[in-house]
Symmetry: C2
Subunit: 419 residues, 2 copies
């Protein structure tokens, strides 16, 4: 343990255990330096961080004072425990073990050192070097050949879809043959497009070939080719949302539609699932025509993704971390899904348990005749695919459950269904 951390932890501990209480003055930097037998720089750093974390408050010229620790606790409780959900099986959260915060922090720190760049707005399309890095990444991973000029970055997939909605002809008919992307359907509706969920008869076709259904079915290559042929013949635009392509496991890696090399295709990808849900960076590859249109609207739509994270991600990709992170997360999530499914089969032998082609999801079919509120009462958040005639179909994503919590999560689920 470094000296700095010792000082930080000792003072924090004195505050948490109420040896120092709200309003108390902390020892001066010089005095604390004698007390702990470390340099004043070390104390200063510890004090700065205690301030940033809310334990101390700096009063210019009069020193450091202990803040209201109960207030911090109440705050954290309101933020963290607003819901009583103990087991989130909806896949909306990541596993704490999946992400190396220390590595990411180094890249953020490095980005914050590039002061010159942070002083100006990002280009509307996003930082040029990040677009170069993404161009290399998708070429290698998904065989998508795209110049950085064709790539547009955004703070999540939604702002990108919104940009498309603004650029596309409002008289177009849009189809979502996969149905599962309800947010996407909602957005196109909000922008006044005619939207349906039939397979064809559309000017714009929105598909997620690696995640067609909520339980992660993959689009067979035959249907991919048909879709491309249709789009070429009818001059329709295909929007390929390559959602969760990284998690395909039981099936052979399927090529992206874009890589098939025909038709008008907009390719969409995201880093949130690979990194952290709180890091909002997605991207799309535009067609030549849309690239021109984007240049027209760009002056009134500033880039939404933060510049610091864009700079950090660029170097993170260049150094190969995104590849090792993908391997790590795939191994981890796949192992958890398998174990979850195995335990579920053992605990509920009468139920039907299946893992999807995309290993992030488990489909559970079982008999059930209670009110669905029982799940929330048991602290479980889960996606109900169907509940009819005493049959229940759940789609379970254990990504956010820690390995050592799986057993308890399965027990809680069994109890909710059977008790």
């Amino acid at each position: 343990m470094k000296k700095y951390s010792q000082v930080y932890e000792e003072i924090k501990n004195m505050i948490v255990t109420k040896q120092l209480v709200c309003g108390d003055k902390a020892p001066s930097v010089r005095k604390a330096s004698e007390l702990f037998g470390v340099s004043t720089t070390t104390i200063q750093n510890a004090y700065f961080d205690l301030c940033a974390d809310g334990y101390l408050i700096a009063h210019p010229k009069s020193g450091y004072f202990v803040s209201d620790i109960d207030e911090i606790n109440t705050r954290e409780e309101t933020v963290l425990e607003k819901s009583n959900i103990k087991y989130d099986l909806t896949g909306g959260i990541a596993d704490a073990d999946s992400f190396d915060f220390t590595v990411w922090q180094r890249y953020i720190k490095s980005a914050l050192r590039q002061k010159e760049r942070l002083l100006s707005y990002s280009e509307p399309q996003g930082e040029y070097d990040l677009r170069c890095a993404i161009s290399g990444y998708i070429r290698e991973k998904r065989n998508v050949i795209a110049s950085p000029d064709r790539i547009v970055i955004g703070a999540g997939v939604q702002p990108l879809i919104q940009a498309l909605c603004i650029m596309l002809d409002k008289k177009s008919v849009v189809s979502f043959p996969d149905k599962s992307f309800v947010q996407g359907i909602g957005i196109f509706n909000d922008y006044g497009f005619e939207v349906h969920t039939r397979d064809k008869d559309a000017d714009i076709i929105y598909v997620s070939p690696s995640h067609m259904t909520r339980w992660g079915d993959v689009m067979p290559i035959k249907r991919r080719l048909e879709l491309i042929d249709y789009s070429v013949k009818h001059n329709s635009l295909v929007i390929e949302d390559d959602y969760e392509n990284e998690f395909l496991y039981n099936v052979k890696p399927t090529p992206s539609l874009f890589a098939l090399g025909k038709g008008n295709i907009v390719y969409i990808g995201s880093f949130s699932a690979m990194l952290l849900p709180g890091i909002r960076i997605s991207f799309m590859v535009l067609t030549e025509e849309l690239e021109k249109k984007f240049k027209e609207i760009a002056p009134r739509y500033a880039q939404t993704a933060g510049k610091t994270e864009q700079i950090a991600l660029c170097q993170y990709i260049r150094d190969g971390h995104i590849n090792s992170q993908t391997r790590k997360i795939r191994r981890l999530y796949s192992a958890k899904t398998k174990e979850f499914a195995k335990l579920l089969k053992e605990e509920m032998p009468d139920a039907l348990v299946e893992i999807g082609e995309n290993t992030l999801q488990i489909v559970l079919r079982c008999r059930f005749n209670k009110d669905l509120s029982v799940f929330e009462e048991m602290g479980i958040s889960v996606f109900v695919e169907k509940y009819k005639d005493n049959e229940l179909v759940l789609v379970i994503s254990p990504s956010g459950i820690l390995q050592n919590e799986i057993k308890d999560a399965v027990s809680a689920l069994k109890k909710a269904i059977e008790s």
Copy 2:
């Protein structure tokens, strides 16, 4: 200087001066520790940061290698020097002296320590505790009383306007009496609204009372009251974009329209100008009716602002840094604008030089009969308000010019106009 920085700088220097060249293996951590006479932890930290900054590449199990430094240089040149603009007088960039990167970095580090929170998506409205902090901040600063539930956060003002466009009745007529916010006019046009720039006759009125014109005129209190009365009488919605209210200097601080306490008002504010253009965090206060509508659309519009920066900003506001930052930036920018205007008057005695009510802008009127491309040729980017009949009107924002560059910037401007 700390040991760590010495090691970092020495190795970086050896790479930059080509004593170590691309492909060379760096000494092992143990060996470097003996060489520099510091702990292996110090070496490890320096190596990690040299990797993050692109000077070294880590090869797992085989050590650290020097990367292609020329490639870094080329990259940085493409990123930084894509344009030859030496003096950006459009106000789009910030002054390197205006922002304390070290303090901000501490808050970012602290945010990255809150792993639990970073593992999940942000609420669609934005982080609850940041909304609490903003609620307190605007109450104190702008007399805007708003519960955190009414506040929506977004990655910049544009995503917030887009959310409004989605929620508002498309048959509404929108007026932009201030005209200067061309991006806003463009966005409402993109969403199919009927937009005009007359004063009244509108269901929705978009105004920036602290920055009505490009040169920062402030809306007089009489017109504010008229506007509110009109909106109450006609049941119209007023969108108050409190853009650059922090920079009012020559005039008394004017109350926000919202604080007048009448009518249907959406209040919009932003932190980008106070912090860094690359930090994308803005917010709006919704009316009761729009708050309800937002809850309906929220499930399909994820929060765009990054979670790390939201958490950091929350604590930064709580600790009073935003207030001291506002004072600092106002003092700095106002001093620069005054000096710029003074030098301009001395250098170009025949021109008319005025500082706006909002001290960020200078209006320059002078005789001119060349092609406007002369400014770009001289490395100057500036906003041309008018150029007709040999009369030129420029709006100059010196915010991005360092204090010691002002003289050269004025000379360059004079030369471009007179030579």
